[in-house]
Each structure stands twice: as structure tokens, then as C-alpha cells.
Amino acid sequence: MFVYFLRKLIVILPTFFGVTLVAFVFIRTLPGDPVMLMAGERGMSPERHAELMAEMGFDKPIIVQYGLYLKQLAGGDFGTSIITKQPVLKEFATLFPATIELSICAMIIAIFFGLPAGMIAATRRGSVFDHTVMTSALTGYSMPIFWWGLLLIIFFSGILGWTPVSGRVSLLYYFETVTGFMLIDSFLSGQEGAFISAMSHLILPSIVLGTIPLAVIARQTRSAMLEVLSEDYVRTARAKGLGPMRVIGVHALRNAMIPVITVIGLQVGVLFAGAILTETIFSWPGIGKWMVDSIFRRDYPAVQGGLLLIAAIVMIVNLVVDLLYGLINPQIRHTD
């Protein structure tokens, strides 16, 4: 198992190096530069423009800049935002818990509803329930997040008044950040109603962010279950007289889980992508919104650092998924 883990880790390193290059080149190939954006309609003289670009080190040949960037990274320094003047790692660490909290809740919703829906749809193939689940999944998958979020806000917050419109907690509560996770911090604050407020603020954004993964998981579970249910060993289990719950829950589900876990792992990347829009609509102070702002401001160090950190997290999650295969199906770690 350890060798298996090491082998996977060795594959990750060149990928990480590749991401540094992509992140570096990507932001620099975008037209415009941070100095020009700073000046706005007023503009600035070419001399002043050159002076400011030089001060930020953006006048050096791109290969030199990349070399300096790698050197900086090797020292664990992700750079400093040219706009806020704060270290990129510090900004990321401040905002990341908000995204993680939202993503975990979204994923819980997606798994909690997606898995059973897919399983039941597979066991009742062709039924009204099956058609309903598959049609809903397709609708959920195709729905633009922005529109979906706004629709929920208008209905549940605007018309019914059941949920707050946006933010992480009511602004009536104020407490120091301890962990960055609002559910934990609000609980620790001891302020009456703060935890409930944080919970209620999580509902709509989690549903919105969890919609696409839910649809994907439901579809994938259904398809994997259908495949497994037609296998000989399932037929044998049934022939042995095992109850349907045991056949489906133990024999079929365990084998059907391999592709489902792969999909769940891949959804982590989808969640980060979805977080960009969800965070914007729900004024959720996470890394998605921060990345978009940084791109618009051409904050090169923030974009590079942010992309790199997000990529690293997605890679780690996928590594964990690979390890999980081994746990679920011992054959994988022997044959791989």
C-alpha cells in the first residue's frame, strides 16, 4: 500500500510543476496589465507605466520572471498581492474555510440525495420514479447556477422570507474568527442564535452548489448499479435466497461504488468551479470570488498562487480517491 501511495505521489509532482507553468502563462497571456487597470479612464504616461511595471518586477523577460517565481515557491513563498499588499497564502487561508464549509455542505447534500436516488432508480428501472429522477438530474445538470441561485433567493428569501438572502451569518452577530468555519465559530461564540443564523445562511448556497454534483452522482450511481445488478454474482446471491436489501446494499453497492467514488472525487474540481458563481450570488467570502476579482484586477501573484493552491487541493483529493479504491476493492492495489 505504501509503495502504491509513493507511486501516486511521484506522478503528482510533475503535474504540480506543470500547473505552475500553466498558471504563470495563463494570467500573462490575458490582455491588459494591472497598472493600466489601476489608472482607469485617466490613463498614465508611458514613462510612469514603465516605472510602475518595473517596480513590480514585470519588466523582466518572462522566463526570468518564471525562474524567480519558482525560486520563491521553493522557499514556500506564494507571493504578495499587488493590490492588497497581503501575502497570497494569508489571503487564501483566510477565505478558504468559507469555500470548504460550503463545499462540504454541498457535497453532503449531493451524496445524501444523489446516492439513494440513483440506487432506487436503478432497482426500479423504467418506473415513474426512475424517469422523474433522471429528468430532474438532467434539468439540475443543465441549469445555469447564476439563474438557479437567484431564483431560489427570490422565492425562499424574497417571497416566503424563510431564508436569509446572502452572507454567512446575520450582521447582528459579531465575533472573532477562530477557525474560519462559521458553523464552528458561531457555536464557540456562545451568542444566542448565532449558530442557527449560520446554519440558515448555508441552506440556499449549499443547495445551489450541490445541484450539479447531485445530478451527476445520481446518474452515475444508477448506471453503475444497473451494470452490477446484471452481473452473475448478484444473480447468484439472489438465487441463494438473500434478501433484496442485502443483495443491493452489500453485494451490488460495494462494487458499484468504484465509479461513483471516482465521480465524487472529480466533483471536487466542479465544486471549486461552481463556487465562483455561487459565492458571487450569495456574497460568500470564499476563494472563488477572490480568484475572479484577482483575475479582473490582473493581480498576477494572487492568480498564480490561488490557481496553484486550488490545483494542489484537487490533486490531493484525487490521490485520496485513488487510495480509497484500494480500500474498497483490494484487487486494485494488487494489480496497479
Partner: protein
């Protein structure tokens, strides 16, 4: 019976008294739905309105100030000022008894004085100042207002008198000092932080003399302030001010409806009708201090010919543009400055919409089958809510007079960069929102000879015009300046380097319980003087 009545009266009285005491004790909190995070809290480093709202307009004061909701100058931290006869020396007499904020980091031991003015300006002006490089050392507004070329020296005369000596006359100087970059910092706080080895704190944990003091900032979520108890103009009516950072305009409106905020910024034009009918919302509106224009490149043929420019101006149906692009809420622009700025020349007559005359004029100019480009901005700005739509309407208008238009656009930063180029191909849609309410801030910045290849997108250097604005800039007498700028507007109209399109109206929705919120002509959000019912 009488006893019972007395008892009831006493009970009611006591209840009322308790209720009023509770009302007195309950702090008033106003939540403002802002559209973005500030870049930082030192307004001297930045140029964005969101940053100024969160810093200079809440936390700081300047030597001079704009009267709330107007472009009129009034005394700020300087009680009064004298200008020498040659117009080169400005002596400011500072206000006494002004207190800085007391925070967890800083307890001021003295009142505001001349040292704070010296620190504030020398930090930006003197490259050798110990604080010049702190925070990156980029003072873009100070530079773009030409302060380093203008100021000769800043002298502390005594503790409450400071003198600015200029290298040349500059009539808008007092207005410039009311701008955000001139926010006054505490020299004592800066010294303390430098000694503690944390000079950056001056910019991240700001201390000013303004009406509100900084409490906390949660990035991309909220900024909290409380009223400065010793504010020199008197404590603010609201006790706590919270900025709820809400990037989406439709969500801001939903929050306003749900009373999650009481004032919101920059509404979605599509929501305006609903806001007008909304019983909880008071939709304030005001003519903006802005102009949206189409700048021809006057250095390239055939746009170097004034007849061609005038002909194209006549081909433009501005009324239709106003309806379609500005949803009818704007004003057709005939001058390069908005009517809210002093010296606006209302006697100037706009080019009439007359496609037949336009075609004839083009023929007379010898221009046939003209093909041109119109640049459409990729972003929504207060002076132009939909540049693409505007460009399409111009394309249709120009087609009527036989001019073929290709619409081009670039990403915003690239647009700003390429549109400055002297040999640019095409006419550019752009605009401007005033910084200090002075006509010079429009006419010299956007149309002066010095700005060619930069903010002068028409690349237009016309000596008779430039002479007038340069003379006005060094003239102290307001009446004389008004006359000169009036003449400059006439010359501008004759020469038509731009097609002036519109001055937009600015909308600001507030809840009905908000008292005396006034729209800032500079596009800011100012909460001193605002109360809640």
C-alpha cells in the same frame, strides 16, 4: 373611578418612558450593501470608489471638503485659508481640538495639528520620506493630479498653520485637496507603528479624524465601523455602520427588501421599475457628474476634417440612444462638462439630428463610402450602461448617411491601453466621472494638449481651446474662469473632437426609514448626516 384613571395614566406614562429609554439605549445600526471589497484602507494608494467609500469617506477628513451632496467646497480640517497675491502660496489655518480615533492599537496623546498634514503629504511627495515606500509607494492619484510637478514645498509655519508653495498657479488646488488621496493620517500613530516595527498597520488598521472609526474587516464579507464619539462636527446620528459586501446588484435589492441592509449601491437598471413601485424603497436619483462620449481620432484622415466630424454628429439620433441605452433616465449632452458643474455654457447649441444634412455635409467634404470602426467598451460604466448597444445604434444611424461601421471591442485593460494610441483606427466610446467638481478636471484632463496620447482619446490639440483652458487654470477670479471655460465650450462645439452623447442619472435605492441620505455627485457613499427613523 378617578383613582383608576390615574393608575392607568401612570402605567401608560411609565411604559412610554421605559420604551423611550429603551429606544434611546438601543444603538442605531445602518447596514450598507456595497458592491465590492476595498483594495485597502489607505485611499492614497488607490483609485476605486469602493475603496474610497470604505476609507476616505468614512474614516478620514481632508483640509478642504465637499459640502455633502454637492460639488461646493467648504472648510474641512483647515478652518480657513489665504492665497497669496501671486497665487503661488496657500496658507492653511488648521482647526483646533480635532481628535483622532482611539483604537486598540493607538491612543492619541495630542490633537490633530500641522505635523499630521506634513506627514500626509510628504509621505506622497518626498521619495526619501521614511513612509514613502511603505505599502508599495505608489500614490497614483497624487501623481495623476500632477502634484509632484506642482508642489515646490510644504512648510509648517506653526502647530496650526501650514503653507503649500506651488511652482505655478493652479486655480483648482483647493478642490484637489478635498479629494480622497488627500485624506489626513495621524503622524503620531505612524511614528508609533514605525517604532514598533509594524509601519504597515497604518494602512491596514487605519486611524483618522473622520466621523466613523474602524472596528473590523472580514475580507469579501463585511466592514464594521462605529461612530467617532469626539468627531469635531458632532457625533454621527447612527452608532454603528456596517458594509455588507454584496457583489450582485439583484441580490443587493433582495437584501434591501428583506431589511438586511438599508442603503444599497448601484442598482441593476432592470430593477429600477420594481424599485419605483416598491413600498419599502425610496429610489433617490440625481444627475451624475459625468459625460459619455464618442471620441474621433482627429489626427487621422478623414476625421482630421472638422466637417466630417460635424456631419457624423448630425447623423446621430441621441434621443433614441437615451431611450434605449439609458432607459430614458439621462440627459442629452451638448457640452463636454455636465450641467451640474459651474461654468456650464447653456447657450451652446447642440448639433441637430439631421441625416439629410449630414449626408450632404459628407459629400461636400468629399467623403464617399466611408468605412470606420467604433470601439465599444466591454464594461458597464455610470456614464454608459451599455456601450455595445450604443455602438449598434450608431452603426444603424451612420449607415443611413452611407457610412459603414465595424464595431470592435477589447478586454477592458486592453481597451484602455489601445484607445490611447495616437494612430488608433476608429472612434472610441468612453466617458468620465468628475473627481473634484472643477471644469478643469474634464476639459484639461480629457481635451488638453498635454493629455494627447493619454486621456485625450480624440488626440485633439487645438491651440485656441488649449490657450483658454490653460489661462482659466491659472486665473483666481471665479467669474473670469467661468467666462473662459464658457468660451472653451463654444470652441469645442465648433471643432467637435467628440460627439457628446449623454449625462446619465445616478439612482440610489434606500429604505423608507433612512433619513437624509444624499447622493454624492462624485459617486461616493457618505453616511455622516444620515439617520434612521
Amino acid at each position: 373611578m378617578r383613582k383608576t384613571k390615574n393608575l392607568i395614566a401612570a402605567f401608560c406614562g411609565a411604559t412610554l418612558l421605559m420604551a423611550s429609554m429603551q429606544a434611546m439605549a438601543a444603538p442605531k445600526t445602518l447596514v450598507f450593501c456595497s458592491e465590492g471589497s476595498p483594495e485597502g484602507f489607505n485611499p492614497a494608494f488607490y483609485t476605486a470608489g469602493t475603496t474610497f467609500d470604505a476609507s476616505s469617506r468614512t474614516l478620514f477628513d481632508k483640509l478642504s471638503a465637499f459640502k455633502r451632496g454637492t460639488t461646493e467646497i467648504e472648510p474641512g480640517l483647515a478652518e480657513k485659508w489665504d492665497i497669496s497675491a501671486d497665487g503661488l502660496e496657500y496658507t492653511f489655518h488648521l482647526r483646533k481640538g480635532v481628535k483622532f480615533h482611539t483604537t486598540t492599537n493607538f491612543k492619541p496623546t495630542r490633537d490633530f495639528n500641522a505635523d499630521d498634514i506634513i506627514f500626509t503629504f510628504m509621505r506622497q511627495f518626498d521619495k526619501e520620506h521614511p513612509y514613502h515606500k511603505v505599502g508599495g509607494g505608489k500614490y497614483e492619484y497624487f501623481n495623476s493630479m500632477s502634484m509632484p510637478d506642482l508642489i515646490k514645498e510644504i512648510v509648517k509655519v506653526d502647530d496650526y498653520t501650514v503653507k503649500f508653495v506651488l511652482k505655478r498657479k493652479e486655480a483648482p488646488f483647493i478642490a484637489n485637496l478635498a479629494m480622497d488621496f488627500a485624506s489626513v493620517f495621524s503622524a503620531e500613530y505612524a511614528d508609533n507603528m514605525m517604532k514598533a516595527g509594524t509601519p504597515d498597520k497604518v494602512d491596514f488598521e487605519p486611524v483618522g479624524t473622520g466621523p466613523f472609526q474602524f472596528v473590523a474587516y472580514q475580507k469579501d464579507a463585511s466592514i464594521r465601523y462605529k461612530a467617532h464619539p469626539d468627531y469635531w462636527r458632532g457625533k454621527a446620528a447612527i452608532d454603528n455602520l456596517v458594509f455588507a459586501i454584496t457583489p450582485d446588484p439583484s441580490v443587493r435589492y433582495q437584501k434591501l427588501k428583506a431589511n438586511e441592509c438599508q442603503v444599497m449601491f448601484n442598482p441593476n437598471p432592470a430593477d429600477l421599475d420594481a424599485m419605483k413601485k416598491d413600498p419599502v424603497v425610496n429610489l433617490l436619483q440625481k444627475e451624475g457628474l459625468n459625460v459619455g462620449y464618442l471620441a474621433y481620432n482627429t489626427s487621422v484622415a478623414p476625421f482630421d476634417n472638422v466637417k466630417v466630424r460635424k456631419a457624423l454628429n448630425m447623423a446621430m439620433n441621441k434621443k433614441a440612444i437615451l431611450e434605449a441605452v439609458y432607459q430614458g433616465s439621462g440627459k442629452i449632452a451638448k457640452n463636454p462638462i455636465p450641467p451640474t458643474i459651474w461654468s456650464y455654457n447653456d447657450a451652446v447649441v447642440d448639433d441637430p439630428y439631421d441625416p439629410v444634412a449630414a449626408k450632404k455635409a459628407l459629400d461636400e467634404a468629399g467623403v464617399k463610402d466611408l468605412k470606420m470602426k467604433i470601439w465599444a467598451m466591454p464594461v458597464q460604466r455610470p456614464y454608459n450602461p451599455n456601450a455595445r448597444r450604443m455602438a449598434e445604434m450608431l452603426q444603424a444611424d451612420f449607415a443611413q448617411v452611407g457610412v459603414g461601421v465595424e464595431i470592435v471591442s477589447f478586454e477592458w485593460a486592453e481597451y484602455l491601453k489601445r484607445s490611447k494610441e495616437k494612430n488608433r483606427d476608429g472612434a472610441v466610446l468612453l466617458g468620465w466621472t468628475g473627481d473634484n467638481g472643477d471644469p478643469d478636471n474634464f476639459l484639461a484632463v480629457l481635451l488638453g494638449c498635454d493629455a494627447v496620447g493619454n486621456a485625450n482619446r480624440a488626440q485633439w490639440c487645438y491651440k485656441p481651446f488649449d490657450d483658454l483652458i490653460q489661462k482659466a487654470k491659472v486665473t483666481a477670479d471665479p467669474a473670469e474662469r467661468t467666462k473662459l471655460y464658457g468660451q472653451a465650450q463654444v470652441v469645442f462645439k465648433e471643432q467637435a473632437p467628440w460627439a457628446t452623447i449623454a449625462h446619465s442619472v445616478v439612482f440610489q435605492p434606500v429604505r423608507k426609514e433612512v433619513v437624509d441620505f444624499r447622493i454624492d455627485p462624485f459617486g461616493g457613499n457618505i453616511f455622516y448626516g444620515v439617520d434612521l427613523k
